[in-house]
């Protein structure tokens, strides 16, 4: 391969100067003439019919409106459905008259200032006629209280290959484990917010720090019964999402208020609202049975995943399928049965959360793999190496090909760098009366988009102007990960022009061409990056072709490099901009291309994490001393950004392992409504995350690249639990492994 000029370089992220100086305008910093503020009123009861007397609130000076169920269009939508053909079960209103969880939207108060809005909310007289609630998977299964329709089962489906029952009969051992994972608050430091207004062209505009602008356009248009072509959604600067700003929770009701009042409206949330009133990672209860031979080969596996879908359907179907499908794409298991069951409960609805099902899928299965290895006294890395998929593997359920995976290399390189064998053998010599030490590891798999399941394409409009500057219009949403810079680098590389010349727009549904699925599903670098590369190559070709046509040269004699094109033996260099001007003048054409790019593949992306922990046996407190994350990423477009993704993903995964949980009591009331009760790892608790990448080229990825940001949040958690279990000789399968859980495991052992 030719040497790359921009791809593979740690180019500084384009937005960091403004962010370091406080100049960046997030939505909370935007102002509009005559703008109103709006806040949702969230249900304080888990399941109740609502009556509201809003007269006192409406009498407060400066209050413009208090909307309830009676005021809104009675059109149902599914906040998770990202395109009109999604065929998802629709069960949400903009505002409800029967609340189904603590945090459900029951009213919107709109006024001239935040102060009057808060005052009006305190003056609302809300009557709750309480209904029996369903909390947790166990209660949901009992079907005694029903939340909607005739059953609490939201979705149920099995996926399988081979004949697991037959193989179970032949097995030397069957290793059974069951455990559970928690609901998680995404904890973007920017609470949810959006702004809606009507612009000078009569478009209903929604500014949102979102992941899927075209999804918002679809929901706003269909719920408010406005033509799609009059709804304009602009992705605002986003103060973090991690999946949490993926669903349309605020935007349609904010747009409704702006449209109805014909004034700009900013809908803001505080932290409590963001925890209660948006979305959470689906809690799960998962049981695994793995049949193995005494030589250490997995013969068959059976997995049942029960999923807490929360109060609305949202992603109940998608997350069950996401959990299931991944389980066929890491180990070579030809006989496997998966069943995913999603249930309605009177708790926060589920939504995307960094890894989309992968953290749950691996949480218990990777502990079970360790237990299988333990059963036959085999090193867990060796056991995995016996069973991990190889390059070019096929998905046994007929899914997309696994691709050029290097998961085995991840394990081998990780073992060496971590000094695995030595540590595994000798770490216990560090033990004291009080402290137990352990090392553990886990593997993980994730995808690269929707290809094989849903439409997955992106459109790019790329132009070169007279001054040689390049504008790339593509419907991407930078979540702070450096997506724009990544695309700039790909555009610069494919055009062969300095990266400073390239501007990449984020999505504005009026300005950027349609993108099928938004910035989710780990599709952006792989699919949108592929689209930009393809557009860049075609545009460069157009520069060369135009130059040849204009000057009478043959293509073989022409070089296009660093933004200039010239005849090999000539000193006279023309900038791409010069050629654009001449092309327009002489041939009445613009120097631009429009590229429709359909994803060509959806390979697996794999990683392995290695962790060392120190467990305080007196308190149950676990400290992660060392974490090594090894990622097969095909090619780093920007190594510094990739490293940042892996370290940040590890932070989220370690939080899942040790302390994060939306604490909901047995009656459905949420106890962790702020950051003093919902704990994130802070700086002193966070270990250094050592990052290794394996870059061996994925043929279908742009410059060989695969996904990284979501997968980064998967393997560290089970690696840590495996390390704890190794340290204590326990079998903890409950997330988070809080001091209480650890102490219980220690005392149960006694």
């Amino acid at each position: 391969m030719e040497e790359l000029k921009y791809v593979g370089k740690s180019i500084i992220k384009d937005d960091t100067y403004d962010k370091a100086t406080g100049k960046t305008k997030f939505i909370c910093d935007m102002k509009r003439h005559n703008m109103l503020y709006a806040k949702l009123v969230l249900s304080e009861k888990p399941h109740a019919e609502i009556e509201m007397d809003k007269s006192e609130a409406l009498n407060i000076e400066g209050i413009e409106a208090v909307y309830t169920y009676d005021d809104i269009p009675h059109v149902l939508y599914n906040s998770h459905e990202w395109f009109a053909g999604g065929n998802q079960y629709k069960d949400e209103y903009l505002l409800c008259n029967r609340a189904r969880f603590v945090g459900d939207r029951i009213a919107l108060v709109v006024g001239k200032s935040k102060r009057v809005v808060e005052e009006a909310i305190s003056k609302l007289s809300i009557g709750y006629k309480e209904l029996e609630s369903v909390v947790g998977i166990k209660q949901a299964k009992e079907n005694k209280a029903i939340i909607k329709n005739d059953s609490n089962v939201a979705f149920s489906k099995s996926i399988n290959c081979g004949d697991y029952e037959e193989e179970f009969k032949k097995a030397d051992y069957i290793i059974k484990d069951s455990g559970k994972t928690q609901k998680i608050h995404h904890s973007a430091i920017e609470p949810h917010i959006c702004l809606s207004e009507i612009d000078e062209h009569g478009s209903l505009v929604v500014w949102s720090p979102c992941q899927t602008a075209f999804q918002i356009q679809y929901h706003v248009a269909s719920v408010l019964n406005i033509p799609f072509n009059k709804v304009r959604v602009i992705k605002a600067v986003m103060g973090g999402s991690f999946g949490g700003k993926g669903q349309t929770v605020l935007e349609p009701i904010c747009a409704f208020a702006a449209y109805t009042l014909n004034r700009p409206v900013m809908l803001y949330m505080d932290r409590k609202d963001a925890i209660l009133g948006t979305r959470s990672r689906n809690a799960t209860e998962i049981s695994v049975e793995t049949a193995i031979s005494k030589e250490g080969k997995i013969l068959a596996r059976k997995i049942i995943a029960d999923i807490d879908g929360g109060a609305y359907h949202t992603n109940s179907t998608a997350v069950a399928m996401a959990i299931g499908k991944k389980l066929f794409r890491m180990y070579d298991i030809q006989n496997q049965y998966f069943q995913g069951n999603s249930y309605y409960t009177n708790t926060i609805p589920g939504g995307a959360c960094r890894g989309y099902g992968s953290p749950q899928a691996h949480a218990i299965t990777e502990i079970n793999i360790d237990n299988a290895a333990k059963k036959i006294r085999m090193d867990p890395c060796e056991f995995r190496l016996n069973n991990l998929v190889k390059e070019g593997a096929k998905d046994p359920t007929g899914g997309t090909d696994i691709g050029n995976t290097k998961i085995r290399q991840c394990v081998i390189n990780g073992m060496e760098d971590f000094d695995w064998k030595n540590k595994r053998q000798n770490i216990k010599t560090k033990d004291t009366d009080r402290y137990a030490y352990g090392v553990g590891m886990a593997c993980a798999v994730h995808g690269n988009g929707y290809m094989g399941a849903y439409p997955d394409f992106s459109n790019v409009d790329m132009s070169i102007f007279a001054d040689g500057s390049v504008l790339v219009k593509i419907g991407i949403h930078d979540q702070g990960c450096g997506t724009v810079t990544t695309m700039q680098q790909i555009a610069a590389e494919s055009l062969d022009i300095n990266v400073d010349k390239v501007r990449v727009l984020e999505v504005d549904t009026l300005a950027t061409p349609y993108d099928s699925a938004g910035t989710q599903a780990s599709r952006v670098t792989f699919v949108c990056g592929g689209a930009v590369k393809s557009a860049g190559e075609n545009l460069r070709k157009k520069v060369i072709d135009s130059f040849c046509k204009l000057k009478g040269y043959s293509e073989d004699d022409v070089i296009a490099s660093n933004g200039f094109v010239y005849q090999k033996n000539s000193d006279k260099k023309y900038s791409y901009g010069d050629v654009a001007v001449e092309l327009e003048t002489k041939h009445s054409q613009s120097m631009s291309v429009f590229e429709r790019y359909e994803s060509p593949a959806n390979p697996a992306t794999h990683a392995a994490s290695f962790a060392e922990v120190k467990v305080d046996k007196y308190t149950g407190y676990v400290e992660v001393i060392d974490l090594l994350a090894v990622h097969d990423i095909g090619k780093s477009i920007n190594p510094q950004i990739v490293e940042g993704q892996i370290q940040g993903g590890a932070h989220m995964s370690l939080g899942m392992a040790l302390l994060e949980e939306i604490d909901i009591d047995k009656n459905g009331y949420v106890k962790s409504t702020n950051f003093s009760k919902y704990h994130l790892l802070n700086a002193p608790q966070m270990p250094e995350v050592r990052v290794m990448t394996i870059e061996e080229n994925e043929p279908f990825g742009p410059y060989g690249a695969k996904s990284v940001g979501e997968l980064a949040a998967v393997a560290p958690a089970p690696a840590v639990l495996n390390a704890i279990n190794f340290a204590l000789d326990t079998n903890i399968t409950i997330y988070p492994a809080t001091p209480e859980v650890v102490m219980n495991a220690i005392s149960n052992k006694k």
Partner: protein
């Protein structure tokens, strides 16, 4: 209440409601929107400013309490177009992702460096223990501070 404060080296005299939160005074009255609100109760640190040399959360302080004080916000670090070394280091080290915690994070680090130009890794982590960041895992932030140790701040 009439107050006199120095904000980013500029003397401000203003008639204020003393029960206004410092964050609202800075954002709404002085238009210093680099001060960010993430939790409204001093838990996330994104509203951190430097008050008389100490990093504080401006959402838990009332403007009536700061009369006669000197305040530095993120907007005050840049001097005649030149970024502070800690700002440069955050940029160069990839310590900024979504950027919402960044102003508060930088100011906590700046306050540390003003007092202790040579902090240990442990001291750096302690200085930012009240600043939550969901994007970076803090690794590159700690590295950004370590990189300016010994340099003039």
């Amino acid at each position: 209440m009439k107050i006199e404060v120095v904000v980013n080296k500029k003397k401000i005299k203003m008639d204020v409601d003393p029960t206004t939160r410092l964050i609202d005074f800075l954002r709404d009255d002085l238009n210093l929107t680099g001060v960010k609100e993430g939790c409204s109760e001093g838990e996330c640190g994104s509203c951190t400013v430097i008050l008389d040399g100490v990093a504080v959360t401006s959402c838990t302080i009332l403007v009536g309490q700061v009369n006669g004080s000197e305040i530095i916000t993120i907007e005050g670090l840049e001097q005649s177009g030149e970024l502070d070394v800690i700002q440069k280091s955050f940029i160069e080290n990839g310590a900024i992702q979504c950027g919402f915690c960044t102003p508060g994070m930088i100011l906590s680090c700046k306050a540390l460096l003003m007092k202790n130009p040579n902090p240990s890794e442990e001291e750096i982590k302690r200085a930012i223990e009240g600043n939550l960041c969901r994007c970076t895992g803090y690794n590159k932030i700690v590295k950004a501070v370590q990189d300016v140790v010994g340099k003039e701040v």
